[in-house]
């Protein structure tokens, strides 16, 4: 199977953050993994040592994946072995994301995010210690 070549005239990426990768060229295997606890509080009071991935089952629970064992034979004929893109503009890539110009055999990406909203109830004065 002849591979295709990606031809990109111009690409502009503003920001790559939190273990993101901009890859030009071919790769045989990509694996990305990111996990995050995003905590929003009614009052902006945070401590630097807060948060434990071990405490929440969302970071441990197995994610079932379909096995890649389908009895399918793929025959690809490259009548034009080029992928042409004139211009790409990406504002940002974040949290173990990949921007790649080129070919890959296998890609496996995993993301686990825990959102927490923390509000202090206004009705009970005992619970309003955060309210100033």
């Amino acid at each position: 199977m002849l591979q295709r070549t990606s031809i990109v005239d111009h690409i502009r990426i503003n920001t790559l953050s939190f273990s993101s990768i901009f890859e030009i060229g071919d790769v045989s295997y990509i694996q990305g993994f990111s996990r995050a606890i995003a905590n929003q509080r009614q009052k902006p009071l945070f401590r630097s040592d807060e948060g434990s991935f071990r405490r929440y089952p969302i970071f441990r629970e197995p994610i079932p994946l379909p096995s890649i064992d389908e009895a399918v034979t793929m025959e690809v004929t490259q009548l034009n072995p080029g992928i042409k893109v004139h211009d790409i503009d990406v504002l940002g890539a974040s949290s173990s994301s990949i921007v790649q110009l080129g070919n890959t055999k296998k890609i496996f990406m995993e993301s686990r995010i825990k959102h927490i909203r923390h509000v202090t109830s206004n009705g009970n004065p005992q619970n309003s210690d955060v309210n100033s």
């Binding site: 793929m74 009548l79 034009n80 202090t120």
Partner: protein, 58 residues
């Protein structure tokens, strides 16, 4: 099953993306297999109503 693919001309003008985030991928090219997994927990399940208590540290 035989899956037959004919790749003819692929010509793209402009691609404009705001964000690629949380183990996502933007690929200009070919891939044999792509597997993506994601878990996301958000309120109501993750809503805490009560006094300020820091989350347990690592």
């Amino acid at each position: 099953m035989i899956f037959q693919v004919y790749n003819r001309n692929l010509n793209v003008g402009n691609i404009r993306v705001i964000g690629v985030s949380s183990s996502s991928i933007l690929l200009v090219g070919d891939a044999e297999t792509i597997q993506l997994a994601s878990t996301f927990d958000t309120p109501a399940e993750s809503l805490i109503i009560g006094p300020f208590v820091p989350l347990s540290p690592e």
